[in-house]
Symmetry: C2
Subunit: 363 residues, 2 copies
């Protein structure tokens, strides 16, 4: 382990997730000897603050990673696809928040509380799961460990910030127009670059990311595939059935999810038993007291690193099946904090090095 | 059938649903010879317009129903409990939009496209189902008829107006405060008169109506019990398993619902076959073309009498199971329009009369 500290680079440093990566890194246990903030030419020259120090953003090129130990990346899938293999080639270990490498067999997909051991065999790139996947894993992993898990049916209530800073701003501009009785115009949501855009303010959009030919969105498939890879360590393991419907809601930060799940055959824990397992799980906070109207809400979860779970109750007609409601800050636990946690875990396990032969895997 | 027209009373005429009952009645096929607008003392004296005519609101008392043929009620469960038996005693047939009588064995619970024959045996009171139940029945009844229905798991995205006009206003006031960077204050949602209130603007509230001891909200139980009564004609019939999670979202009008359902054992219709059955069903509009980004949204559904369904696709791991997304105006098809439709059906079937012995059933 390096005692003088690590050279860290943040790729996509000016975005909604990137700026939070800087904050989370500043508050982490990782000793940082140098921080490089990388972005597109459009953002170059901007200055951002890390531990009281002003750092200028520079344009990300392959050579930006010379001498870098750790990369935290959140500049979009195309940028990660192009630049992270270059970083690995230069000996930098990359934690990638984009979806590009997540299902790659050579890339661990990690929620540190859930499957930290997957880090052991990394080849220079570790993927940060999708925001909506992470918080569902946080709520269900204690259930899986104690009682098994057969099936998940999830409906999401996802915040605008999942589509970046511009989506938050679009939501606010639309809301202002609506309240002033003026027409709302949309150019970002549901998906940047899509043929059609719809207002999110005071509305619901049942489309997150692009559609696949089978009628599911890419976001829905991410939740399905990533769950299997994280919980089972192998994307082809068919043991847990998962299906998802993903909906964008007019909330700036923090996703909600309504999750129905079935534990292993023959298991019928009470809601209290489920709560007890969840309460012991690190990073998961049980907010579940109907008599006190206590349940997770985006406005109370935003800004926290924790995942909040409540409304835990058995399906009254299917023994072994349950409903719950889970909320987390999609930019923190759903992205920046989970990425920094992965980096902390790599440091703690002395895994901040690229094994020989790794770069070839991503060529 | 009366040829000169019916004397109609609207109870709760000044509320979010009541005002829409006036509009929907004006556009209905029901011949109205006189319209009485009834409300609490607070609203008495206000004037509302029906077919170009100004009508003063009067205080609702038992005698208000003398000579009335048809009552449309939406003034709260306690008011219906007290006044509708008085109306029945005076020979008026009542369509009640509150939850008070819905599960009464002597009261048909009707969505006219789904179970109109339940009207045949009415005893003077017919219940309008819960808004979130109605739109789910509209989407699933064509499925049930063609392929059977074994199980429903629903997560709702319910608009503020389900809690009345004051909740819409609270949502807008909160949104204005939020956008001006001022603190939001709540005094209506999640439930009027509850110990705690939370802002809905830019937030999600997983509580609609009060909690039962089992951790479900009353709203969730309404969806479960009402579905069984409507689809099976008998609230005790256990054939369809139903579970629900109800969430309030910052939308003024029109509820969304993410519904997972299983058809009868052995049936595995394609999404196209489901769409074809739905497209034939009256009042149901299929908006389901991912390539064109066509799917139901509250902002396009609000103001329409129709129910909109889309995102219809098979669960890829459970043959015979499917996901869909359904949206309808909760104040129209979910309340006022469904009530007026029931009244139209009563008129068409010459059922606007109270059978002897009915009044005693509600004493």
């Amino acid at each position: 382990m390096q005692t003088k500290g690590y050279v860290v680079a943040i790729l996509g440093a000016t975005g909604a997730v990137g700026t939070r990566m800087i904050e989370q890194l500043a508050e982490s246990t990782i000793p940082v000897s140098e921080l490089r903030l990388l972005a597109s030419p459009r953002s170059a020259g901007k200055e951002l603050t890390f531990k009281g120090q002003r750092i200028a953003v520079t344009v990300a090129t392959p050579d930006s990673f010379d001498g870098v130990d750790l990369v935290l990346a959140s500049a979009g899938g195309a940028v990660s696809a192009k630049l992270l293999p270059e970083a690995v080639k230069r000996g930098a270990v990359c934690v990638d928040n984009t979806s590009h490498f997540r299902m790659d067999d050579n890339v661990p997909l990690v929620v540190p509380e859930v499957n930290p051991d997957a880090l052991k065999d990394h080849h220079g790139i570790i993927a940060d799961p999708n925001c909506s996947t992470i918080q569902m894993m946080m709520a269900l992993e204690p259930v899986r460990r104690a009682f098994g898990l057969r099936r998940i049916i999830v409906s999401t209530y996802q915040a605008a910030s999942g589509a970046g800073q511009s989506a938050i701003e679009e939501l606010k501009t639309e809301a202002q127009a609506y309240l002033a009785d003026e027409p709302m115009t949309a150019s970002v949501l549901p998906v940047k670059g899509a043929a059609k855009h719809y207002p999110l303010a005071f509305n619901l959009l049942p489309q997150i990311d692009v559609f696949e030919d089978d009628g599911y969105t890419h976001e829905e498939w991410k939740m399905i595939h990533e769950t299997k890879k994280i919980m089972l360590g192998d994307k082809n393991a068919p043991n847990i059935k998962v299906t998802a419907t993903c909906v964008r809601v007019p909330v700036p930060i923090a996703h909600g999810e309504s999750v129905w799940f079935e534990v292993a055959e023959g298991q019928t824990p009470t809601a209290a038993e489920l709560r007890a397992e969840m309460a012991k799980f690190p990073g998961l906070v049980v907010q579940d007291d109907p008599a006190q109207q206590l349940y997770p809400q985006p406005q109370t979860a935003a800004g926290s690193r924790d995942t909040f779970v409540g409304r835990i109750r058995p399906d009254q007609e299917t023994p072994g099946a349950y409903n719950l409601w889970v909320v987390a800050d999609n930019l923190l636990k759903g992205a920046a904090w989970n990425a920094v946690q992965i980096a902390e875990e790599l440091v703690a396990r002395d895994l901040v090095r690229v094994p020989a032969g790794s770069a070839e895997l991503f060529e």
